[in-house]
């Protein structure tokens, strides 16, 4: 079922910009079109680019916010990527705040 929805109507997750648009819905209760526009503006891309895996892989590598590729030379992943996403989208991400508190790091 998850596969069917992802192919029929899904945004594509980390492969594209689906996780970023989802974050704005969850963090700020933004409606879909507002969340897409907010993310597109922050990334400096067009709305249609948000679900283009070719464009988004380059954008995500450049911004260092994780892609689905995890091999040699890969972009930041996991908590590293989320620290960059929090700054990029101007939101607080709970686990990033916890990470800062536990390590004493400020960024």
């Amino acid at each position: 079922m998850a596969i069917v929805h992802s192919q029929a109507s899904g945004m594509g997750g980390v492969r594209t910009a689906g996780d970023l648009v989802a974050r704005m819905q969850l963090a700020k209760s933004m409606r879909l079109n507002d969340a897409k526009k907010y993310v597109a503006d922050k990334l400096g891309v067009g709305l249609l680019d948000l679900t283009d895996e070719v464009v988004m892989r380059e954008v995500r590598e450049e911004l260092d916010i994780s892609t689905v590729y995890m091999g040699y030379g890969a972009a930041s992943r996991g908590i590293e990527a989320k620290a960059n996403i929090a700054k990029l989208l101007d939101i607080e991400i709970n686990c990033v705040e916890k990470f800062k508190n536990k390590t004493g790091m400020k960024f």
């Binding site: 998850a2 192919q7 109507s9 945004m11 996780d19 819905q25 209760s29």
Partner: protein, 346 residues
């Protein structure tokens, strides 16, 4: 001829005019039950096109994609008999299944039993958060009936009501609702402290209006304590059952609420995403069920102040009641909910 299905998943052949009749009847039923506006003629034409498309798989046009949230991702792998640990299941969803969001959950998926294993569940949440990128919610079913006899300490309203003990049944439900509310507060606190982005309450109000009441109160209190906590509320059905019958939240009676009112109440409590669940009638056709579900959901999205993610799965959102939901129906329901229902997500 158009090859489509019944609500139980069995194939059925119809002419295009028969499909139209089924769609119109489904819309009419939604309007009658939920007291919502009908789909427009353009919506109906588009819905018929989607249903009658000869290809097995249908998808949205580029630009019409929406956000996907989930119910219990680990459970889906457990059901397949795949012995994979929960953090790895969520990594698979992120990197292999194009998930926009992640959801950690215990296999029982009810709030009450999770309380016994908070430390173990906090561990998998904290561990997974280090290695994954999308927002991660912790999901549970409120499942208020677990607090009633024989599974819990409270008297069972479904045994008291047939005996005419209305007041006693209402009191028993309030007692169970109080226990549920307390557990949801404990759960929310535990998972937020572990680093989760928030909670997903799934199949909310399965136990009726008192369960919905407990969830709304818990959301309100959690948001007071953790304003940045994200909370998604998926409903159990299209209609809040009035087992109690008199409960109100912020001045509005909960019993009998349909999706558009359910979404408003979730927003009032402080929820971030509302998830209507429109039940599938197995004796009716897929076109009838899908038209009915899209009509109710479209109105819910119009009046809701927060994003609406329709439940579109086994026996809800127009999809046939099958443990292996047919791909032809799921892809059509997914497309129709995005392009006609104007959902923010599924």
């Amino acid at each position: 001829m158009v090859l489509t299905r019944m609500g139980d998943g069995a194939f059925v052949e119809m002419t295009e005019s028969e499909v139209r009749k089924e769609v119109e009847a489904g819309v009419e039923e939604a309007v009658k039950k939920a007291k919502c506006p009908p789909l427009t003629e353009d919506d109906i034409k588009r819905l018929i096109e989607i249903i009658c498309e000869p290809r097995k798989f249908v998808s949205v046009e580029r630009g019409n994609e929406l956000v996907l949230t989930y119910d219990s991702q680990p459970l889906k792998f457990t059901r397949l008999g795949l012995p994979i640990a929960m953090p790895q299941i969520l990594q698979t969803y992120e990197r292999g299944l194009m998930a926009d969001t992640l959801e950690m959950a215990y296999v029982h998926y009810s709030a009450k039993p999770v309380k016994m294993i908070f430390p173990e569940e906090q561990y998998v949440v904290a561990e997974t958060l280090l290695t994954t990128t999308p927002a991660l919610l912790y999901g549970v079913m409120p499942n208020m009936p677990m607090y009633t006899k024989p599974d819990g300490p409270c008297e069972n309203a479904s045994e008291l009501l047939p005996k005419g003990l209305i007041k006693e049944a209402q009191e028993a439900q309030l007692e169970a609702a109080d226990l549920l509310e307390r557990d949801l507060l404990l759960l929310g606190e535990a998972m937020y402290e572990a680093g989760a982005d928030g909670l997903d309450l799934d199949t909310t109000a399965a136990g009726g209006d008192a369960e919905f009441y407990a969830c709304l109160r818990a959301i309100e209190k959690l948001k007071e304590r953790y304003p940045n906590m994200s909370i998604e509320v998926g409903m159990a059905g299209e209609f809040v059952l009035g087992f109690h019958g008199s409960l109100e939240y912020k001045g509005e009676r909960l019993a009998g609420m349909y999706p558009h009112d359910q979404c408003r109440m979730i927003a009032k409590a402080g929820g971030n995403i509302a998830g209507p669940a429109i039940n599938t009638n197995t004796r009716k056709s897929f076109p009838w069920n899908l038209a009915r579900a899209v009509t109710m959901c479209k109105y819910a999205a119009e009046v809701s102040p927060i994003p609406v993610h329709a439940n579109v799965g086994m026996g809800v959102g127009g999809v046939p009641m099958q443990i292996t939901p047919p791909i032809d129906c799921v892809s059509r329901a997914s497309t129709a909910m995005a392009e006609i229902g104007k959902m923010d997500g599924l």
